[in-house]
C-alpha cells in the first residue's frame, strides 16, 4: 500500500448541499511572506482546499493564531481572523466561541507557541472540549526568531542557542493531547498533501476540540527534519499510516506489522515465523479507553516508526454546548432575565 493512497478519513462525507465557494474565495489579498519552500505553504493550500468543502459561509469562520511563522496564517485567509499574542490563541478562541458558538473557530499555532509559552492554554482547551479545530504546525525549531531549539527539538540538537546540543528531552504533542482528554487527536505531515487535506477535513468535521499535529520542515533552520519521510526509499519503514479498524501494517508492501508482546509493542514481519495478520494490533481510535492511542503515540524513532493518522476520535459534550445549555436551562426555569427584576433583588426598602 502506498503512502499516498492512504485512506485516513473517517469523517462524514461533505454535505449534499454544494458549497458555492471555491479555494479562491478563501485567499486574502495579503502577500504571503513565508520563506520560499517553507512547509507552511502546503498547509495553507490544504486549508484553503478544505474550507469550501465544509459548507460554512465565509463570514462565519474565524482563524485565531498566536506568534510564530505559522501564526501568520489568519492574514492569508479571507475569513475573520485574529493574530494574537504568543501562546494565547486557544484562550482567545475560547472567548470567540463562547461569545458566538455558531462560528467555526480555528486555531493555528506552532511548537513554540503552543508547547512552550502557551502549553497551559492548549491543555485546558483540549480538556474542555471546546468545539474548535487546532492545527499545530510542528517544525521542531524557532523559525521567526531565527533558529533556536524548540520544546519539540530532538535531544542534543545543535542550534544557535544550543551550540553544544540541547540538554533537554523533547515534549511529544500527541501524548500530551491524549493526556488532556482530547476527543480528536491526529498527526499528519506537510509532505503528504492528500493525507494532510483529509486529516484537516476530518478534524474540521469533528464536534469538539480537534487537535492535529502537522509535522513540517523549516527550510531555513530545520530543513532535513523530515528526511525519512521525504526520501521515498525510507518512508515506508519509518512511517505508519493508521486506519480505523485495520491491522497496523507498514514497510514495503505492508510486510511489517505491529503486534503486542506482553505489554510492549513489537515490530513483526507478516507471513514470517507464523505471524499472521490476525496477530497484529487493529487500530481503534474510538475505543472506550485511550490506552491504544497512547501506545501508538509513543512509537518513535529510532526503535519504531512514527504513526500518522487519527489516534483518537470520540464524541463528548462540548464546552460551548454545555455553557449555552446552562443559559437555556436558566431561562427556561427563571424566564429571560429582566433587568428591573435583577436590580430590585434582595432586601430593598423605600425612602419616601
Amino acid at each position: 500500500m502506498s503512502a499516498y493512497e492512504s485512506e485516513c478519513c473517517t469523517a462524514d462525507q461533505p454535505d449534499a448541499t454544494i458549497s458555492l465557494l471555491t479555494k479562491k474565495d478563501f485567499q486574502s489579498a495579503q502577500e504571503v511572506k513565508w520563506c520560499p519552500g517553507c512547509g507552511d505553504f502546503g498547509i495553507l493550500s490544504q486549508v484553503q482546499n478544505v474550507l469550501p468543502k465544509l459548507g460554512i459561509p465565509r463570514e462565519k469562520i474565524v482563524f485565531v493564531s498566536g506568534i510564530g511563522c505559522s501564526s501568520r496564517f489568519p492574514y492569508y485567509l479571507n475569513t475573520y481572523g485574529i493574530h494574537g499574542i504568543h501562546g494565547r490563541a486557544p484562550a482567545i478562541a475560547m472567548g470567540v466561541k463562547c461569545a458566538n458558538p455558531e462560528l467555526s473557530v480555528w486555531v493555528v499555532t506552532g511548537d513554540g507557541d503552543s508547547l512552550s509559552i502557551g502549553t497551559n492554554h492548549l491543555i485546558h482547551c483540549l480538556r474542555r472540549n471546546l468545539d474548535l479545530t487546532i492545527l499545530l504546525l510542528n517544525n521542531q525549531i524557532y523559525g521567526l526568531t531565527k533558529g533556536q531549539y524548540s520544546p519539540t527539538s530532538e535531544f542534543g540538537k545543535k542550534t544557535k542557542s544550543s551550540p553544544l546540543g540541547t540538554i533537554e528531552q523533547p515534549i511529544h504533542p500527541i501524548p500530551l493531547a491524549l493526556a488532556a482528554e482530547g476527543t480528536f487527536v491526529a498527526r499528519t505531515v506537510f509532505a503528504d498533501q492528500a493525507h494532510l487535506g483529509k486529516t484537516i477535513e476530518a478534524a474540521a468535521r469533528h464536534k469538539g476540540t480537534s487537535f492535529v499535529e502537522i509535522r513540517q520542515n523549516c527550510v531555513v533552520f530545520n530543513d532535513n527534519v523530515l528526511g525519512t519521510f521525504t526520501d521515498a526509499d525510507t518512508r515506508g519503514d519509518h512511517w505508519i499510516y493508521l486506519e480505523q479498524g485495520r491491522p497496523i501494517r507498514f514497510g514495503k508492501d505492508g510486510r511489517k506489522g505491529l503486534a503486542m508482546r506482553g505489554t510492549q509493542p513489537e515490530i513483526v514481519a507478516v507471513g514470517e515465523g507464523g505471524v499472521r495478520e490476525e496477530n497484529l494490533i487493529v487500530h481503534d481510535a474510538r475505543g472506550a479507553s485511550n490506552s491504544q492511542a497512547y501506545l501508538l503515540a509513543g512509537l518513535a524513532p529510532p526503535e519504531f516508526p512514527t504513526a500518522l493518522g487519527i489516534f483518537r476520535q470520540v464524541e463528548k459534550p462540548t464546552y460551548d454546548d454545555l455553557l449555552m445549555d446552562q443559559i437555556d436551562d436558566a431561562i427556561a426555569k427563571n424566564g429571560r432575565g429582566e433587568l428591573a427584576k435583577l436590580l430590585n433583588a434582595g432586601t430593598t426598602w423605600l425612602v419616601e
Partner: protein, 620 residues
C-alpha cells in the same frame, strides 16, 4: 465620628450616628448578625455603611486570633460617609475577638462580651495571660459581660436542637441585645427568619427565641443605662438596597451588557478579592451572562478580548499579581482596538502582598503599565455603590471608543456596603451602537471622525471579513504595516482617541470653597473619609475643598483650571503618591502626598488632622 449626645428623655440618648462592630470566631455568625442589623437600620431610615473583616486564615483553629471575623457598620444621618473610624459598641464573642478589636474602640465605648467564652483555654489561644475582664485592663471602656452561651442555651432548649445547632443561635442573642440598645424593631428580623428558615421550623423558632431573649435580657437586666436613638437620613426618594462594591460591579456589567443588547462574557481566574464578581455573575445565567473560569489570568484577559471580537461585552476581573499578568493581553486589546473592561480590585502588594488588605498602589500600573505607547482609559469607583455606575461607564466608553477600559476598585470597596438607590433600566443610557450602513465600502481601521474609534464589525457579518492582530496596522485599511511614518501616525491616533474621551465625561466638581487655601484631591475608596474630613473642616470655617476623581485617564478637561485656584493641593492615597505624581506631571502643580499603606483605608480624623497641621502652618 463624634457622638453628639443630646439627652432627650431620661432613658434615651440621641445621636447623629453610631458605629458598631460585631466580632467573633469565624463560626460565630457575626457576618450574618451584622448584615441583619444593617438591613434593619436601613429599613428604619438611617444611612448604613458597612465593612466586613474576614479572618486572614481560611481554617484557623476556633478561638484563635487568626480566626476572628468582624463586621462593622456605621449608621445615622446622611453625613455618615464611611463605616466609621472607631466603633462605639463592640460585641466580642470570645477573648480573641476582644483582643483583635479593642485597640480601635472609642474610649468610653461599650464592650459587650460573651463571658462564658472567657475560659482559660480560650484566653490562652488569644494570648491573654490573665482574664482581661478581671484585671481592670478595660477600665477605659464600659464592659458588659453577658453569659451569652448559657442564656442562649436556655432560650432554645424547647426546640430540642443538637448542642451544635443550639450554640449556633447565639449570634441572634447578640443581635437582639444590639437591636434593643439602638431601639430598633424586632419584627423585620422575625419576618426574615420566617422566610429564610421556612424549611426548618425548629431552627427558625430557635433563632427567633434567641433573638427575643437577647432583646428582653437587655431590656430587663438593666445592663445598659440608656438606649440610643440614631438620627434618620434625608435621602433622595426611591427604592434602595445595600450593595458591596463587588456586587455593584457585577450588576453594572449585567446592566451594561443588557443596555448594549449583547451577551456578557466574563472571563476570570479566582483571586482575592475579585472572585466575588465571578461568583455573583455566575448566578445570573438567565441574563445571558457567560462566565468562564479560565486556566489563568492571561487566558481570562484574552478570552474577554476574543469575546468582544465576536460581538459580546467582554470583561475580566482581577487583583494584585493578576494585573501584572494581564498587561500583555491589554496591550493586544489596545492594538486591536477592541472594547473590553478589566476590573482591578486592588489589594496590598507587591507580589502576593496582603491579599485581604486594601491598597491603591496600582494606579500608575493602570495608567502606564504596558510596554509601548499604550494608552487606555482608567476609571475608579469612589464608593461601593459607585462601582455600579463606574462599571457601566467603563462599558459605555469601551464600546463607544473601541478600547479596553480599566476600572479600579479595591479590597475596601469590595467588602464594604452602602445603600444604593435602585435605578430603573430606562434611567441607564442606551449602549446599542448603530450598524455601519450596508454597502458602504469597509475598512476595519477607518475611524469615526468624532470619536476616532474604528468600527466594531463582528464575525458573522457577510462581506466584511477582516483580520486584526498585534502587529501595527496601516491607518485606515488595517493591514499589517511596518511603515515608519504610519507607526507614528497610529501612535498619535491611539493617544488622541483616548485623550478625546475627556470631552465625553463629566467635568470635575469640587465640594466646599470654590477657591481657597487647600484642595484635597482623592480617587477611589478614600472618598468617604475625605468627604467627611472636609465637611468637618468646612464646619470649622476652613477655606478648603474636596475634589474626587473618578476618571484618571484621561482627566476631566477642567481639572487644570480647578487646581490653579488653590494655594495648596493635598492628595491622600492608599499608596506612596501615585495620583500626586500624575498631577505634578500633567499640571506642574505643587501637589503634596498624604500616603498610607498599612492595609487600611484612611480614617476621617487622619485627614482632618493632617489638613489642620498644614493650614496651621500656613496661617501661623
Amino acid at each position: 465620628m463624634v457622638q453628639a449626645k443630646l439627652a432627650k428623655e431620661k432613658e434615651f440618648v440621641q445621636v447623629r450616628s453610631a458605629t458598631v462592630r460585631f466580632a467573633g470566631d469565624s463560626g460565630d455568625g457575626m457576618q450574618l448578625a451584622g448584615s441583619q442589623f444593617a438591613d434593619i437600620a436601613s429599613m428604619t431610615g438611617t444611612v448604613v455603611r458597612t465593612l466586613t473583616d474576614f479572618p486572614s486564615e481560611i481554617r484557623a483553629p476556633a478561638g484563635s486570633l487568626g480566626g476572628v471575623s468582624g463586621f462593622q457598620l456605621s449608621f445615622g444621618d446622611e453625613e455618615v460617609r464611611t463605616p466609621g473610624d472607631e466603633p462605639y459598641v463592640l460585641i466580642a464573642m470570645n477573648p480573641a475577638a476582644l483582643k483583635m478589636n479593642l485597640a480601635e474602640l472609642q474610649p468610653g465605648g461599650i464592650v459587650i462580651v460573651n463571658e462564658d467564652e472567657f475560659t482559660p483555654g480560650n484566653l490562652a489561644k488569644a494570648a491573654y495571660s490573665s482574664n482581661p475582664l478581671e484585671t481592670g485592663d478595660l477600665s477605659s471602656f464600659r464592659v458588659i459581660p453577658v453569659s451569652m452561651t448559657r442564656l442562649n442555651e436556655e432560650a432554645v432548649r424547647p426546640m430540642n436542637l443538637s448542642r451544635k445547632d443550639a450554640a449556633r443561635c447565639k449570634n441572634f442573642f447578640a443581635l437582639g441585645m444590639t437591636l434593643w440598645l439602638y431601639d430598633r424593631p424586632l419584627q423585620p428580623m422575625l419576618e426574615w427568619l420566617m422566610d429564610k428558615f421556612r424549611k426548618n421550623k425548629a431552627i427558625m423558632a430557635a433563632n427567633g427565641a434567641s433573638l427575643r431573649a437577647g432583646y428582653n435580657f437587655a431590656d430587663t437586666a438593666e445592663l445598659f443605662r440608656v438606649q440610643h436613638t440614631v438620627a434618620t437620613a434625608r435621602l433622595p426618594k426611591g427604592r434602595y438596597r445595600r450593595v458591596t462594591g463587588n456586587e455593584a460591579a457585577a450588576l453594572g456589567l449585567i446592566a451594561a451588557a443588557n443596555r448594549a443588547g449583547r451577551a456578557l462574557v466574563y472571563a476570570s481566574y479566582p483571586i482575592t478579592p475579585a472572585s466575588e464578581i465571578l461568583h455573583e455573575l455566575s448566578k445570573h445565567k438567565e441574563y445571558d451572562v457567560r462566565t468562564l473560569q479560565t486556566e489563568d489570568e492571561i487566558a481570562a484577559c484574552v478570552a474577554a478580548m476574543g469575546a468582544s471580537f465576536a460581538g459580546a461585552i467582554g470583561a475580566t476581573g482581577t487583583s494584585g499579581p493578576g494585573l501584572s499578568l494581564k498587561a500583555e493581553g491589554l496591550g493586544l486589546a489596545v492594538m486591536t482596538e477592541l472594547p473590553m473592561v478589566c476590573i482591578n480590585v486592588q489589594r496590598a502588594g507587591p507580589s502576593t502582598g496582603m491579599p485581604t488588605k486594601t491598597e491603591q498602589a496600582d494606579l500608575l500600573m493602570a495608567v502606564y503599565g504596558r510596554h509601548g505607547e499604550c494608552p487606555m482609559p482608567v476609571l475608579a469607583a469612589a464608593t461601593p455603590a459607585d462601582c455600579f455606575q463606574m462599571t457601566f461607564e467603563a462599558v459605555r466608553l469601551a464600546v463607544k471608543y473601541m478600547t479596553p477600559v480599566m476600572l479600579l476598585s479595591d479590597s475596601f470597596l469590595s467588602s464594604s456596603a452602602e445603600p444604593w438607590r435602585v435605578l430603573a433600566p430606562e434611567e441607564l443610557p442606551d449602549l446599542r451602537i448603530a450598524e455601519l450602513p450596508a454597502g458602504e465600502d469597509f475598512a476595519p481601521y477607518r475611524r469615526d471622525p468624532k470619536t476616532l474609534s474604528r468600527p466594531w464589525v463582528v464575525p458573522g457579518t457577510p462581506k466584511r471579513e477582516h483580520r486584526i492582530g498585534g502587529l501595527e496596522k496601516l491607518d485606515g485599511a488595517g493591514t499589517v504595516s511596518y511603515d515608519a511614518a504610519n507607526h507614528q501616525r497610529m501612535v498619535n491616533l491611539r493617544a488622541e482617541k483616548i485623550a478625546g474621551i475627556s470631552r465625553d465625561i463629566p467635568p470635575a466638581e469640587v465640594t466646599g470653597a470654590k477657591e481657597g487655601d487647600l484642595l484635597v484631591i482623592g480617587w477611589g475608596s478614600t472618598y468617604g473619609a475625605i468627604a467627611a474630613a472636609v465637611d468637618e473642616l468646612l464646619h470649622a470655617g476652613r477655606r478648603v475643598a474636596h475634589l474626587h476623581l473618578r476618571y484618571l485617564n484621561p482627566f476631566p478637561a477642567n481639572l487644570g483650571e480647578i487646581l490653579s485656584k488653590y494655594e495648596r493641593i493635598l492628595v491622600p492615597e492608599n499608596n506612596m503618591g501615585h495620583l500626586c505624581s500624575l498631577l505634578r506631571d500633567r499640571f506642574l502643580v505643587n501637589a503634596l502626598p498624604l500616603p498610607k499603606v498599612d492595609g487600611r483605608t484612611f480614617r476621617i480624623r487622619e485627614i482632618q488632622e493632617h489638613v489642620e497641621t498644614l493650614l496651621g502652618g500656613l496661617f501661623r
